[in-house]
Amino acid sequence: MTAEPAPSQEGERVLDWVTRHAARLAGTGPAPLRRITVSTATLAVHVEWAPPPAGGAAPPACPAVEGTPAAAARQDAIMVTSPMVGTFYRAREPGAAPFVEIGDLVEPGQQIGIVEAMKLMNAVQAEHGGRVAEVIAADGAPVQYEEPLLALVPDDRA
């Protein structure tokens, strides 16, 4: 859809407005800006972003996104996933050391973080052991049920 041709003076103002806001708008969407429609007289603004690269709103059913190096690493990894929907914390309290860091050896049953839902702090434990290859969910991030939090790689010593 395209902008209605506006009288020249109004056109100037609109173009100015678009220019000033385009950069700001570009940063707010999930993907590059694709189209801005402005309609004068009664002001209708229509901003469209390119479709997000992946499934968008779909839940993270499969953590592996093919083609990225991290994804390749994750192929053989054991995922520690969230046991519930809530907020993920890597440490027992703000400022404390994380439960685990990349490179740490994790034993089966070891606590690797906390998921908080409705003020209840729920310990997240690794079901299987392994070495921490990647911390997938950031500290304080909202996570869904079964969303991957950590990637472990099997380790003989674990």
Binding site: A57, P59, M84, V85, G86, A117, M118, Q144, Y145
Partner: protein
């Protein structure tokens, strides 16, 4: 108006709520279980949150998961649909405590009207007729005396019950003590509350209900009545409006009574007052459903009112824009519930994958469904696949249209059986056609052997 509504339900009703939100420009978040990851509501939602595994206790019935999902997605309201947490006063309290608007009546109203014993007591004070009966706070002996005073047959029902469960019909005084004890046990097991009450049992009843809308400013209107007499396992199968055996004046009287009761109760939101009609046409209150109902589309078809839209406006604090005189009902609407079940095996739910799916269409035909080719029908949830609703100027044309719509519908796949042929048998049954059926119709049809 709300910015973002979290839909805490699944299936066709999640889609139904999403549609109106989309039309009103409200952002939608669909909270879903792992089993519902690939459903249309999830596909169409602005955002989706996986809240738990297939088991409802850990997803759709889990208040913590739903509230967490609402908070993390910035939702300002929660629509519970029907079933699951839609009539939980506790969930309503939790939402309130977390600053979320639950789209439904306030917790106090749900608590008062959701309990069947207190709803019964309320109805009496509100001037609604109830069936002879009463609670049984005392022991079995007092309950038996109540039953004797009512006269047999009686039904023993869980105070906290619903959905036709923990409910026993007793025909002989000698059977009473055992039935009373068994129902208490069932009630405790199913609802965590052993309280039961006794009521006269109507063998040959019709089931009628009145739809109301009430805002937070003391305005209440009714949108006519629905007849939901065709039931299997005490669950509705076919609904129609207006009720074919009530005159317009009788519906108006029942509507006015219901509006007064809703006002007395301080009701807010969309709700339904359910009644049974005995063989003499007298109306007796049974219960209130503090939520949207499965069969709401037929009311929408005759009145032109979008009930979900009204729910959202009311929950946002708006005064009702409809006055009673604005609500003009036109024609007849009928809804048929197409379930994945096998009528010849006691309506046992069936599971499978749908390979061919062609919904009906064309004039005055509405379909609410989350099914499509490739959809899996699982045993995890309600077997409802689709609601087929039709409208016509009169009942005869509406029945013909419903039959036409069911005939053209295709639902096929390995393991999938539906109630489609059975629904058409009901539509063709002389008792139904002449509107002389009672809640016993399906049992009559199933118990008479095919020659």
């Amino acid at each position: 108006m709300f910015t973002t509504v979290l839909i805490a339900n699944r299936g066709e009703i999640a889609l139904r709520v999403l549609r109106t939100c989309r039309e009103m420009g409200i952002r939608t978040v669909v909270a879903h279980s792992t089993a519902d990851r690939d459903t249309p509501a999830v596909r169409l939602a602005d955002e989706a949150v996986q809240i738990g595994p297939a088991a409802p206790r850990r997803s759709y019935l889990n208040p913590a998961a739903i509230v967490a999902a609402a908070l993390q997605t910035g939702a300002d309201a929660v629509h519970p649909g029907y079933g699951f947490l839609s009539e939980s006063a506790e969930f309503a309290e939790i939402c309130r405590a977390h600053g979320l608007t639950l789209i439904g009546p306030p917790p106090e109203v749900i608590a008062r009207l959701g309990d069947k014993t207190s709803a019964r007591e309320f109805a009496k004070t509100a001037g609604l007729a109830v069936l002879p009966g009463g609670g049984t706070c005392g022991g079995a002996a007092e309950a038996a005396r109540t039953a004797a005073a009512i006269g047999y047959p009686v039904v023993v029902k869980a105070a906290a019950g619903g959905g036709g469960r923990a409910m026993t019909v007793v025909h002989e005084p000698g059977d009473f003590a055992r039935a009373h004890a068994a129902t208490r046990r069932d009630a405790l097991a199913l609802f965590g509350d052993p309280r039961v009450y006794v009521e006269r049992y109507l063998d040959a009843a019709r089931h009628v209900e009145v739809q109301v809308l009430a805002d937070g400013h003391g305005n209440v209107v009714h949108l006519g009545a629905r007849d939901c007499t065709v039931q299997r396992r005490r669950q509705k199968l076919i609904e129609e409006t207006p009720p074919p055996t009530l005159t317009a004046a009788a519906v108006e009287r029942l509507g006015a009574l219901t509006v007064r009761a809703a006002l007395t109760a301080g009701y807010v939101g969309a709700g339904t007052f359910e009644y049974v009609l005995d063989e003499h046409g007298a109306c007796h209150f049974i219960e209130v459903n503090c939520r949207l109902q499965v069969e709401h589309p037929i009311t929408e078809m005759v009145t032109g009112v979008d009930l979900v839209r009204e729910q959202l406006l009311i929950a946002a604090g708006r005064p009702l824009s409809l006055r009673q005189q604005d609500i003009v009902s036109r024609g007849v609407a009928i809804e048929c519930r197409v379930n994945a079940e096998d009528p010849s095996r006691g309506f046992l739910p069936t599971a499978g994958t749908i390979e061919h799916f062609v919904p009906p269409g064309g004039p005055f035909t509405r379909v609410d469904t989350h099914a499509s080719a490739g959809a899996r029908v699982t045993a995890d949830y309600d077997p409802l696949i689709a609601k087929v609703a039709v409208w016509a100027p009169d009942r005869a044309q509406a029945l013909a249209r419903a039959d036409r719509a069911l005939e053209e519908m295709v639902v096929q796949g390995p393991g999938v059986r539906t109630g489609l042929p059975f629904l058409r048998e009901v539509l063709a049954h002389p008792l139904f056609r002449y509107a002389k059926h009672t809640t016993g119709l399906v049992d009559q049809m199933m118990s008479t052997p095919v020659p």
